[in-house]
């Protein structure tokens, strides 16, 4: 079993849903990132999405765009991001890490080099926003061959036939983008999400997680009733922005947000 499978089976046994947290690597500094990863896990996060900083994060809303800009000001690259994952892995052997970002830094490194380094650094999968399955076949099969999980996205505009293809090509989990918009938007329509997720679940046994627009215990609680888990990003990155120069405050604030979301999700079950 890979780390995703182990985590989802543990969650199932304990009757819980997956809480996935997103931060940008190196935002605001690499030391904080690694400490923050541990802190979020200790407050109840199940999976970490580690954002790879990019100059042109075209799918992000304003909050996460600024996260990328702060990380780039600290000169954080894909290589640095992998180093942070490796540092985290020295203590935490179990929490799955998915890199989230854009394809260009991976192309620049070269697919084969990337796959080897990702494996070496304890990465479990990738969510590449601008790499739909049509363009992701070569990287995807190189990853699968080495036991890494290419995670693809579904969206409210995905038609049924495509959804089947996406479900088939995804490993680890599938990421349902809950709304038409960028990260941080808040126009979530729960009824629609419930319907769509139910339809997708009939197509696959791979867990379906929902992201975009989930920002607190209440929204995460609602989502966790309809899907296998919830992804929280902008709400966390916003706290980093507000406390940029004070790492201790970041750890404390993010830790308590994660703890409250964990509680909201567990009590909703």
């Amino acid at each position: 079993m890979n780390r995703f499978e182990e985590r989802f089976s543990t969650l199932q046994v304990s009757g819980k849903k997956a809480l996935v947290v997103y931060i940008v690597a190196g935002d605001p500094a690499s030391e904080t990132t690694v400490r923050l990863m541990h802190e979020m896990v200790s407050q109840g996060a199940d999976i970490i999405e580690l954002g790879v900083p990019f100059t042109d994060p075209e799918a992000e809303g304003p909050v996460i765009q600024l996260g990328h800009e702060r990380a780039l000001r600290a000169r954080t690259t894909l290589t640095d991001t992998l180093a942070m994952a490796r540092a985290f892995r020295q203590q935490d052997k179990k929490t799955p890490i998915a890199l989230m970002g854009y394809i260009n830094p991976i192309e620049a490194m070269g697919y084969d080099v990337f796959v080897d380094k990702a494996l070496e650094s304890g990465i479990d999968g990738t969510i590449i926003v601008n790499l739909p399955p049509e363009e992701g076949e070569i990287l995807g099969s190189a990853m699968i061959e080495k036991g890494l999980s290419p995670i693809y996205l579904l969206s409210p505009t995905t038609l049924n036939e495509r959804a089947k293809l996406i479900c088939k090509q995804s490993r680890g989990f599938i990421y349902y983008v809950s709304l038409k918009g960028t990260t941080g938007a808040s126009n979530l329509n729960y009824t629609e999400v419930a319907e769509r997720v139910a339809k997708f679940k009939a197509m696959t046994d791979t867990p379906i997680l929902v992201g975009f627009g989930i920002k607190d215990a209440e929204s995460a609680g609602k989502i966790s009733k309809m899907a296998d888990g919830a992804v929280v990003g902008s709400a966390i990155v916003q706290l980093i922005e507000q406390n940029e120069s004070e790492p201790e405050v970041i750890l404390k604030e993010v830790g308590s947000l994660v703890a409250s979301i964990r509680e909201g999700m567990d009590s909703a079950q």
Binding site: D56, P57, A59, L78, T79, A108, E137, S155, L159, K180
Partner: protein
């Protein structure tokens, strides 16, 4: 070297104008690198376009507007004094500066606005650098009764203020973009974000042969009117094809427009001019075809200005319309198969050509087009008097007067 490690899916490298392939590739360039939410929208666009492009009524509608509204065909003008001054090939100017709104951008906007109408979209959005594509989009939106929103980097808003006001007069909303480098590429990213959020109601008019498939193809097709006219006019006036075509390359739409109908005429040299900005040796330029490497940005795989970590580099050109770190994928392919050549002209040289065209021909070129003029003057000098060189004069320079005045230390207000 690194490019070989990419294991890029094989594409056809045959010389042919029948590109792109089914997947939107020109050789190994192009593709559809967009977020999942946009995949349905770009395939709907492709289906609609393929359905309409051979529809006689749609074609007639475009032709009517290009003639009566845009003012086509544009003249192919013999620049006699410039030719004498240079002392080489006969220099002809394809006068896109004379069309409505003052640049070739309108050719594409007419086609895309009609597509938007046919697709039932009440709202269009656009990105702009120099403001010419923004003005052209706002213009067709007014013409066809569509709501229009234009994204523009704050740095470009400062250097192209005339066009900003003009877009407002046309009823468009101009949204300043303050992220990243605050120029064209950031405006394009912001327009994509708008599109994702409003995909049901909105048509995105991309202004150049970039973005995800089918944009590089359809923008090229709408701009090909430039090359088709040039071919016809040159045959009629001189009984031969030109020997060389010279065009500036930002995203590459005016260049693709004039090159495309000549791709299979291999006796015609195709030359794209990229901006060398402060000079190639300074790194402050926007010449991905000349010194860039292959990567993926804003929907397609192409040559890019990037560092070894795959982060996009800051670019510079005195001309806002050329200040872009990527380039349309078809150019990357034409470069690799050596069908087109790509060269560079720096800010100083472009400014020099800008002044000379004023003095020798009484024509005020856009700073973008001045790059093509500058290179054409060098090239024509090495050619024979019975040879013909056509410059695609992509736009007029009214928008650049404040910039020029600033350089000359003259206050206009």
């Amino acid at each position: 070297m690194k490019n070989e490690q990419y294991k890029i899916p094989p594409g056809s490298n045959e010389l042919s104008s029948a590109m792109p392939d089914e997947r939107g590739y020109f050789g190994q360039y192009g593709g559809k690198f967009v977020s999942e939410t946009l995949m349905a929208a770009i395939s709907e666009l492709e289906t609609e376009y393929r359905r309409l492009k051979n529809n006689p009524e749609f074609i007639a509608q475009i032709e009517r507007d290009l003639k009566d509204y845009v003012g086509r065909e544009s003249p192919l003008y013999y620049a006699e004094r410039l030719t004498k001054h240079v002392g080489g090939a006969k220099i002809l100017l394809k006068r896109e500066d004379l069309v409505h709104t003052g640049a070739h951008k309108i050719n594409n906007c007419i086609g895309q606005a009609l597509l938007a109408k046919h697709m039932g979209k009440p709202r269009v959005i656009a990105e702009t650098g120099a403001g010419q594509h923004g003005v052209a989009s706002a213009t067709v939106a007014a013409r066809f009764g569509l709501e229009c929103c234009v994204y523009m980097g704050t740095e470009d808003i400062a250097r192209q203020s005339l066009n900003v006001y003009r877009m407002k007069l046309l009823g468009a909303t101009v949204v300043p973009v303050d992220s990243g480098t605050k120029t064209l590429k950031d405006a394009l990213s912001e327009a994509m974000r708008d599109w994702v959020a409003n995909v049901d109601s909105t048509y995105y008019i991309i202004g150049t042969v970039a973005g995800p498939h089918p944009y590089p193809m359809l923008v090229r097709d709408f701009q090909a009117v430039i090359g088709n006219e040039t071919k016809r006019q040159c045959q009629a006036q001189y009984g031969q094809l030109p020997d060389a075509l010279v065009a500036c390359v930002g995203g590459g739409s005016n260049a693709m427009g004039i090159f495309y109908p000549f791709i299979d005429d291999t006796s015609v040299r195709l030359i794209g001019v990229e901006p060398a900005g402060h000079g190639m040796e300074t790194g402050k330029h926007a010449a991905p075809l000349s010194v860039g490497s292959v990567g993926v940005l804003q929907g397609n795989r192409t040559y890019l200005m990037q560092d070894e970590d795959g982060l996009i580099l800051d670019t510079h050109s005195v001309s806002a319309g050329l200040d872009y770190p990527g380039v349309g994928p078809e150019h990357s392919w034409l470069k690799d198969i050596k069908r087109a050549e790509y060269v560079t002209i720096d800010d100083e040289e472009a400014l020099g050509a800008f002044r000379q065209l004023n003095l020798l021909e009484g024509i005020l070129p856009a700073l973008e087009s001045a790059h093509a003029v500058a290179y054409a003057m060098k090239l024509a000098a090495q050619m024979k008097p019975d040879e013909i060189l056509v410059i695609n004069l992509s736009g007029r320079g009214d928008k650049d007067i404040p910039t020029m005045a600033g350089i000359d230390g003259i206050s206009l207000s």
